[in-house]
Symmetry: C2
C-alpha cells in the first residue's frame, strides 16, 4: 500500500468538495488502488469553512511554508482561484518537490509555461484536468486518447452560468436581465457575473483546451471574445423558428489558413448534439481526422464534479510515473510560426427592422448580394402596429469583413431598414 | 527521439485503419510526441490487403514467431478478432516481452485475466481502449479520470449496427427485416448479423466496461441478453407517442442489492441525452457519486475511429511507464462476494390487443394492480375494423417477476385481452 499525503490550499467550493470526496472515499481507494490517501494539511484561515468540513485543528495550517516543509505532503491541491497568491503558492510547492493538482483556469491559462517548467525542473507533476469543464474528462481525453489525431476543430459549451441563462431564456421566455437576477438568486451566477457572462471564463478554458488540441500555445489574448449580455429573447425565438438554438460557444479551428479561436453566442442547428446541452450542463465536441466527431458531456462546475476531476488527477499522479507535461508549452506566448485567422468564415443570422415599403426585402438581399453574401433562409414577419416589418435572414457562409460591410450598407440606405441583431451561425 | 517498433496482426478493417493512421502521421508524432513510430512488420497472408495498403514485401511476415523474435518490435497490435488464433498470438507476444494493444473485445472479455497476468509476469503492457465503443475514450476515462468516483450506473448504446437499424425504423418506418437487409446492403450489418442484432457484441463490451466501472470482474455470462430481432415498428411508434425512443441499451447498475447487468431493447425518455444518439453513433452515459452524469459520444466502430483508439494506446504505451493493469482482474470468474441481481426493477411498456368489450381496460389495470403494478401512462386506441382495440401502458417501477406474473394473468383471462409486446423502460 502506497501512502499519499495531500495538502489542500483553500476550502472554498471546489476545495471543500475535494476534501469531502477524499475523506469520504479514503477506505475505497485502499481497496481499488492500493493507495492510502491522507489529507495532511489544509491551508485555510476561514474558521467557518474549517468548522463546516470538520477539519481537525492539527490539520489546519496558516501559511504555504508549513505545507512546503511538511515531508508527509506529496501532492498539493490548489483550489484558490485567481492569480495571486495561488501562483506563488504553486511555485513554492513545486520548488519543494511536491506535485500539484490545480483547478485554477486563470492561473494555468496565463502562467502554464512558468508552472510547467518549474515542475519539470523539480521533477514533479502538474495536473490540471479540473481547470476545464469540471468533471468532464476532456483534457486527458485529448492527451491520452485522441493524441494520434490531428484535431481540426473543437466546439464547446464550457460555461455553466451562461448556458443556464440561455436555456431559461429559451424555455421560459424573459429578458437576459430578469433571468440573470433569477440565476444569481439561485446561486447559479455570481453577484459580479462579468467573468461568466462576458465570456472570460470560457476564453481561459478555450485557451487551455485549444493549446492541447492544436499542440501549440494559444494565449487567451488571441481569443475573440463576446458575451451574452446583448442577447435578446426575440432572437432566440426567431432562431428556433429557423431550426437553431442559441448557445455561448467556444470555438477552436485549425485549418490551412491558420488557427481560429473565438468565444461568442452563436446559432447551432437544433439537431446538433451541442444544441441539446441544457441548463448548467457543459459539453465539448471535438473533431479529429481519424476519430471523427466525439462529444464529452457532463457537469462543467460544482463542488463534487470539479472535485472528481481533482481526485482523478491525484490518483493518476500517485499511480503513474508520467508527469503529464505538455508537448507544446514552450512559452506563454504563441509560437511565431502560428498564424491566427481573424476574419472568421461563418454563416450569419441577421435581424432587420424596416418600414413596410415595397421592395425592402429585395433591397436588403441586393445589398447582401453586392457584398458577395447569399441568403439561405428568410422570414419576413407580418407588419407591426408601428408599420414596421421584421426581416430575419440566415446567410450562406461568408466572412466577418463582408458581413460588416453589408450591415453598414444596409443601415445607410434610404428606405429605413436597420440591422437590429447579428449573430454567427456555428 | 524514442524509436517505437510496431507489429500489426491482421490488416482487416481495424488493422488497415491503424496502418493508415500510423503511416500517415509518422512525421507528426515525431514533432508532437518525440516518437519515431515505425511499422516493423505486418502479419497478414491476404495478398489483396497487402497490396491495398501498399505494405512493402520486407514488412510482411507469415507467422507470429517472426514477430516475437524481431528485436525491433516493441508493441504488437492485435486486430484479428475472435478467440483463436488471436489469443495464442497475444500470449506469445507478451511472453516475448512485447506490449500488446488490442481491439478484440471477445478475447479481452473472455480471457482478460490470463492475458493480463501474462503481461504482468513479463513486465509489459496490455491496452484495450479499442475493444469498446471505437474511438470514444470511455475505458481511459473510467481508469484515469473518474476513478475517484463510486460509479453507480452506466448505460450505453454501444453497438452501431443495431442503433442504425432502430434509428432507420423510427425515422423511415419499415419492419426490422426490411431495414436489416438495407443495412446489410450498405455494409452497416454483417451478412451473419447475429453477434450484433442478438446483443452478443454489446454484452462483451458491457462485460469489459462494467468490470472497470464496478471494480470487480463481471463475466459476460452473467449478463442478461436480449436482441432487437423481435422489435416491431408499431411499438416504436407508440413509444414515441408516449415520449420515448426505443434503443438497444447495455445497462450496468451497482447498488445495495448487488450488481445488475443487462443488454436489451428499452424505452428511454426522448429528452435523455442517449435518446438523441442516432444512426451508427454510440454513447455511454455514466453516473458517479461525485461527478454526477457524464456522457461520452462518438463513432463506436469503423476503421479510423477504432484505429484512433489503438494509436492512442500505442502512444500512451510509448510515453508512460504505467502498464494499465486493472485493479480487479483476479480471475475470469466473478468474485464470490459479488451478488448479481436477476429480478430487475424497471418500468415496463406493455401493448395489449383486446376485444372491444366494456370493462377491458379496467380488467387489465385491475390484474396489474393485483400484482402490485400501477400504471403511469395509458393509450387506448380506437376500435380496429376487426373489432379489436389496442391498449398501450407504461407502468410505474416494478420488477421482472411481478410483470411476468401479471402478463400471464392478463393472457389467461376470459375477455380475450392478450399481451402482444413488452419492453423495459430505462
Amino acid at each position: 500500500m502506497d501512502k499519499v499525503g495531500i495538502a489542500i490550499l483553500g476550502l472554498g467550493v471546489v476545495g471543500g468538495g475535494t476534501y469531502k470526496i477524499l475523506t469520504g472515499h479514503a477506505e475505497d481507494y485502499k481497496k481499488t488502488h492500493n493507495l492510502d490517501i491522507k489529507i495532511e494539511c489544509v491551508l485555510e484561515r476561514n474558521q467557518e469553512r474549517i468548522k463546516k468540513f470538520g477539519v481537525s485543528a492539527g490539520t489546519v495550517v496558516n501559511n504555504i511554508a508549513e505545507v512546503c516543509s511538511n515531508p508527509e505532503v506529496d501532492i498539493v491541491i490548489e483550489t484558490l482561484g485567481g492569480v495571486e497568491p495561488a501562483k506563488s503558492f504553486v511555485l513554492s510547492a513545486l520548488k519543494a518537490g511536491k506535485s500539484v493538482v490545480t483547478s485554477n483556469k486563470e492561473l494555468y491559462c496565463k502562467y502554464g509555461y512558468e508552472l510547467e517548467s518549474t515542475a519539470k525542473k523539480n521533477n514533479c507533476g502538474l495536473f490540471y484536468e479540473a481547470t476545464c469543464v469540471g468533471g468532464v474528462p476532456v483534457i486527458r481525453a485529448m492527451l491520452d486518447n485522441l493524441q494520434g489525431n490531428k484535431i481540426t476543430s473543437l466546439m464547446g459549451i464550457i460555461n455553466g452560468t451562461t448556458n443556464y441563462i440561455l436555456t431559461k431564456m429559451s424555455v421560459c421566455g424573459g429578458s437576459y436581465g430578469e433571468i440573470l437576477k433569477e440565476a444569481q438568486a439561485l446561486g447559479y451566477a455570481e453577484s459580479d457575473p462579468a467573468s461568466d457572462v462576458e465570456g472570460f471564463d470560457s476564453a481561459y478554458k478555450l485557451s487551455i483546451l485549444s493549446s492541447i488540441a492544436f499542440n501549440t500555445k494559444i494565449p487567451y489574448t488571441e481569443i475573440y471574445r463576446e458575451g451574452i449580455t446583448e442577447i435578446d429573447y426575440t432572437d432566440i425565438k426567431y432562431a428556433e423558428k429557423l431550426g437553431f438554438k442559441v448557445k455561448l460557444l467556444a470555438i477552436g479551428k485549425c485549418g490551412d489558413k491558420g488557427i481560429e479561436v473565438r468565444v461568442h453566442p452563436a446559432l447551432i442547428k437544433s439537431d446538433h448534439p451541442l444544441a441539446n446541452v441544457n441548463d448548467s450542463f457543459n459539453a465539448v465536441f471535438i473533431t479529429g481526422d481519424s476519430v471523427g466527431d466525439v462529444m464529452l458531456y457532463g457537469r462543467g462546475a460544482g463542488a463534487l464534479p470539479t472535485g472528481s476531476a481533482i481526485v482523478g488527477d491525484v490518483i493518476y499522479c500517485a499511480t503513474h510515473n508520467n508527469f503529464n507535461y505538455s508537448t507544446f508549452e514552450n512559452t506563454e506566448k504563441a509560437d511565431t510560426a502560428t498564424k491566427f485567422v481573424k476574419n472568421f468564415s461563418s454563416a450569419y443570422y441577421i435581424r432587420i427592422n424596416a418600414t413596410d415599403k415595397a421592395g425592402v426585402l429585395s433591397h436588403v438581399t441586393s445589398v447582401l448580394g453586392k457584398n458577395g453574401i447569399s441568403v439561405a433562409q428568410v422570414i419576413q414577419d407580418s407588419v407591426e402596429t408601428d408599420g414596421n416589418v421584421t426581416i430575419v435572414l440566415i446567410t450562406h457562409k461568408t466572412n466577418e469583413k463582408s458581413v460588416n460591410k453589408a450591415i453598414k450598407d444596409i443601415n445607410s440606405n434610404d428606405i429605413s431598414a436597420k440591422v437590429v441583431s447579428i449573430l454567427r451561425v456555428a
